[in-house]
C-alpha cells in the first residue's frame, strides 16, 4: 500500500471506492473540486498487489480521505473538514484510515493554519464511530438532527490539532537551528511529531458526510452540470441551515 496525495487521475477509482463502501456518493466533479481547491489535503491508499498493465494505467485505490477547509467558518476559526473517508474491507486492520488522516491533518495545519478538524458520522455507524473516537481521538461535539437525506442523525465530531502545531513548531525550530549550523552535522531525522499510537481496533471503512442538503435534494441531482461556484454554494447550504 502506498499513501500518496490525491491526483486528478485517481478520481474515477476513488469514486468507485466510495460508492462501493459508503451510502453518500458524489459525481467526479465534486472530487475535482476538492483536488483543485485544497490540493494538499486529500490522500489515497494505492493497491500495489498487481503490477499495472502499462505505465499509464491509473492505480487501483483501496482507501482515501477527501478533505477540505471550511470556507466560511461560522466560529471564525480556520478549520478543516473531512468530506469522506473510507477503506476497502479487503484492506482493513492495516491502519490505513489513520495514516491517511494524519497526512491530511498535517497539511491542514501547515498550509491552511487549521486549528481543528471536523466531520460527520451516522449515529448508527458503530465501526466508524469507534475509529474516529478510539483510534483517531475525535470527540463528539453534538448531534445534528436528521442530517442525512434518509433522515438519520449525525454526530458532529471534532479533533483539536494542537498536537500537530506542536510538532510543526518543533520542526521549524529544528530547521532554523540546522540553518544556523549550516552543515557538517550528522544525518538525523526531524523529531518525531505525530505520536504513532497502536492501531488497535479494526480500522473501519466508513465515515462520511452527506453532501446533499435535505431541503433541496432535487437540485443537487443535476449538480454535475452546474458550475463550480454553484457546487460550492450547494455544499455550504447544510452548514448554514443547521
Amino acid at each position: 500500500m502506498d499513501i500518496v496525495l490525491l491526483h486528478p487521475s485517481h478520481i474515477p477509482h476513488v469514486q468507485t471506492c466510495n460508492i462501493t463502501n459508503l451510502p453518500e456518493n458524489y459525481f467526479a466533479k465534486y472530487y475535482l473540486y476538492h483536488a483543485l481547491t485544497w490540493p494538499q489535503l486529500s490522500y489515497v491508499a494505492i493497491d500495489l498487489s498487481k503490477p499495472s498493465r502499462s505505465p499509464h494505467d491509473p492505480p487501483k485505490i483501496v482507501g482515501y480521505v477527501l478533505a477540505k477547509m471550511e470556507e466560511e467558518p461560522v466560529d471564525g476559526i480556520p478549520h478543516g473538514h473531512i468530506t469522506s473517508l473510507s477503506v476497502m474491507r479487503t484492506h482493513r486492520r492495516l491502519g490505513l484510515a489513520e495514516k491517511l488522516m494524519r497526512q491530511s491533518q498535517k497539511a491542514m495545519v501547515e498550509t491552511f493554519g487549521a486549528k481543528y478538524v471536523s466531520l460527520h458520522v451516522r449515529v448508527s455507524n458503530k465501526a466508524a464511530l469507534r475509529l474516529y473516537k478510539d483510534t483517531l481521538q475525535f470527540e463528539v461535539e453534538k448531534v445534528e438532527s436528521k442530517y442525512y437525506a434518509d433522515g438519520e442523525d449525525a454526530f458532529s465530531m471534532k479533533q483539536n490539532l494542537d498536537f500537530i502545531w506542536d510538532a510543526v513548531k518543533k520542526e521549524e525550530a529544528q530547521f532554523k537551528k540546522e540553518d544556523k549550523k549550516a552543515e557538517g552535522e550528522e544525518k538525523e531525522g526531524a523529531p518525531t511529531g505525530t505520536g504513532d499510537e497502536d492501531e488497535g481496533d479494526p480500522v473501519g471503512d466508513e465515515g462520511q458526510e452527506d453532501k446533499k442538503p435535505k431541503e433541496v435534494m432535487r437540485k443537487v441531482k443535476i449538480g454535475r452540470a452546474l458550475g463550480v461556484s454553484d457546487l460550492v454554494e450547494k455544499v455550504e447550504q447544510p452548514k448554514a441551515s443547521s
Partner: protein, 840 residues
Amino acid sequence: MPSQQPLASKEASLFRNVLKFYETKQYKKGLKAAEQILKKNPKHGETLAMKGLLINCQGKTEEAFQIAKEALKQDMKSHVCWHVYGLLYRSQKNFDEAIKAYKMALRFEPDSQQILRDLALLQVQMRDYNGYIESRRLMVMSKPQIRQNWTGLAIAYHLAGNLSEAENVLTKYEETLKQPPPKTDLENSEAILYKNYIIGETGDYQKALDHLESISRIAVDKVAILEARAEYNLKLGNNEAAEKAYRVLLERNPEKRLYYTGLEKSLGVEGEERLKIYEELAEQYPRADAPKRIPLDFQEGDAFKSVAQKYLDWRLKRAAPSTFTSLKALYGDVAKRETLESLVDEFLAKTREEKPVENGENLTNGSSTPNNSVLIYTLYYLSQHHDHWRIRNTEKALSYINEALELAPDNADQGELRLGLARILKHAGDVRKAMEEMDNARQKDKSDRYYNTKCSKYMLRNDCNEEAINTMSLFTRNDVNGPLGDLLEMQCVWYITEDGESYVRQGKLGLALKRFHAVYKIFEDWTDDQFDFHSFSLRKGMIRAYIEMVRWEDSLWSHPFFRRAAVNAIKLYLLLNDKPHLAHGSLANGTGDDAVDFESLSTADRKKAMKKAKREAQKQEKAAAEAAAKAKDERKGGEEKKQDDDPLGAKLAQTTEPLEKALVWLKPLLEFSPTFLEGQTAGFDVYMKRRKYLLALKCLLAAHNIAPEDPVVHEQIVRFQNFLNSKPELSPTVKSIIDETFTLTPKEGSLAEFNEAYLSSHADSPRAAFSVVKARQALGASEGAELETLVFEALKKEGATLKDAVDGLALIKEIKGDVGRYTEEARQRWTKANVFEVKA
C-alpha cells in the same frame, strides 16, 4: 461599436432589465420584458438575440437558434447578436462554431472583457493554445494590475509548451511588486511554487533548486517543497542533500515507495547494505508496512525466506485479512510463492500447536479469542493462496476456508470469510452458489455497503439483473430517477459495465449497448467537467493542481473503464453488422442456448420469425414504458426528467450503420490507447469490414508490435494474407504500400503451412489452438471434424483455464461441433462451473 438599432429610452431601460433577468436566471421575467420591447420594435436584433438566449435556457434549442439567426439578420454588426449566437453553440457543445461567433463579436466590440473571457475559456477547453495565448495576452494588456491575468498568460504559454516564456511572464509580474507579499498570501505561495514547477520541467535542476531554496521559507506547501528538493538534488547528484530530504519525507510518510527508491538511489546501496537500510527504517517506523515489505521484492533464495518469514510473522499475528493481498504481487515468481506457502504452512502448524483447536461447542459463545483469529486468518491466507489463478486448487482452497468458517463464531469474521468463500466459488465457475454465499455475507451486516456492492456484483455475474438492481437499491437514492438512474447520476461505472456484460452473455444486445453508451456518456461528462475549472482555478490560485488536471483530461479516454466498455461495444456492433436479426426481440437471444437458428431457416420462415420477434419486442417496450410511467407516479413531486424513449436500447441495436457506430468507440481507443492490444485487434476487424485496408493493416502492424505471438494477431495475419491472396481489386498505391509494409507472412510456403507452424510452436496454448481453428476456417482448408478435434485437445491442455474452456464452447458452437460431448468433457475438469451444467 453601438448597435445599429438604437432604442427609445423606455425600451432601452427594459433591455437593461432583460440582461439583468438573464444574469439572475429569471428567464420567464426576462422573456416577458423582451416581448414587451419586441411589441414596439419587432425587428430589434439585440432583443431578438436575448429572446433566443432566454428560450434556449428553457430547453427549446431549435427555436432559440432560429430566433438568434433572425436576430443576426436584423443586426449583423451587433456584438450582442454574435455573442448570443456563440453562447447558443456553446450550450450545444459545438465549441468550434462558438469560437467563430465570439471572434465575430469581438470584431465589433474589441474591448469587451466578457466576450474575451468567454472566448479564452473555449480556446483552452479546445486546446487551441495559440488562440488562448493571444486572448490571455489581450487580457493582461487591458488589466495588468491583476495577478490572475499574468498567471493566466503563463498557463497559456506553459500548456503550449513554451516554458521559458511562461516563466518570464511570472517573473515580470513579480518584478512589479514593491514588496514581497506576506506569508499568508496563499495565491502568492502557489504562484511561486508554480514557477518552480515550470523551471523544474525545463530540466535545469540547478536553477530550479536555487529558486526553490529562495522560496522555501515563503511557500506553505511543505510536502511540495520537500519533494522537489529531494528530486532536484538527486538529479543533480547531490546525494547527501537528497538523502537528507528523503529521510525527512519518510519521517512524514513512511508509506510512499517513491521515497524509498529515492533514498536508495541517493545512497547508492546494493546487496547486504540495501537490506540493512530497510532493517533500520523498519525499526525506526515500527508501524509502517513498506520497510518490511519492500525487501521481499529484491531478496532471493534463503535471503528471501528470512525476510518473508519476518514479514509473515508480523502480519499473520495481527490477523489482518489483507496479508495475502500484500504478497500477491510476488506470485509471478514460482520460487517465492512456494517459499511463502511453506512458511505459512509452518506458521499454521505452530499456531495449531500453541493452542489446539477446541471443540466447536466452546467457540459458539462469544467472539473469537485473539489466538483463534490468528488461526482463522492464517487459514484464510492459505485458502487465497490455493485459489490464486497460478495455482487454482479449488478443493484445497475450499477446505481451508471451510475450516476457518467452522472456527469463526458468529461475528464479523464470518462475513469476511464468506466473502472469501464466495470468491473461490466464483473463480471455480459456480457463479450461482457464489452469489448465494455472497448474499449470506451481506445478511451478516446489512448496513455495510461493501457487502451489498459485492453481492450485487455477484448477482450480475449470475445474470440476475433484476435481483442486482434491487439489492443496489438498498443504498441508492430512489426518489428521483430510481436506483438505476441514481447509479448513472453517481457515475457508478463498475455497475453499468457489469450490467452490460451480463446482457451480452444473455444476448440482450440492445440493453447491453444501452449500458455501454451510458459509460460513454460518463466520459463525455468527465471531459466537460474541466470547463468550469479554467476560470475557477485562476481565482483559487491552485495552478499546479489545475495543470495536472488538464493533463489528466488530455489522456482521460485512455482510462481502462472506457477501454472495457469500448471493446464490448465494438464487438456488439461487429456482431450486429454480420447478423442484424440479432437486434430483434427474441432473435436477439442468438447467442443464448435456446436461440432460433435464424440463419438455417428458409426465407419464408425467416420472415415469420422476424415478425414474431417484432411483436414480442413491441410488447416488451410497452411494458417497459408502462413500468416507467408507474415508477414516475410513485415518485410524485419528483423533478420532471426527460423521458427515455429507448429504455431497452432497441433503437441502438437496430442501427442501420453498425460499423459507423463502432467507429465512434474505435477512434478514441486507437488515439488514446495505441498500445492497447485489444483496441488494435478490434480496429483491424472494423476496418476490414469497412474495406479500409490500409487502416486495417495499420492496426495489424501495431498489434503485432505489441504482442507478436498473440493468437488473435496470428489469426488476423492469416486472414489479411488470405485476403491479399484472393487478388482483391486495390488501387496501385494501396497495393504498393501493403507490399512494402506487410511482411509478416513468409515468402516461401503456403499460408496453411504458416498456420500449422504456429500451432506446433504454441502447442501448450489453448488460445493458440483456437486461433489456428479460426484461421483454418478462414482458409476453408480443413474438415469440420479436424477442427473439432483441435478444440477438444485444447480443452485438455494443462494450462487451460475456465475462461479458455468457455471460449472453446463458443467456438464449438460456431463450427457446429458436438456441444454435448464438449460440455461433458469440460464438466469433468471444471466440476463446479455452471456453464457446463446439463440444462434441466
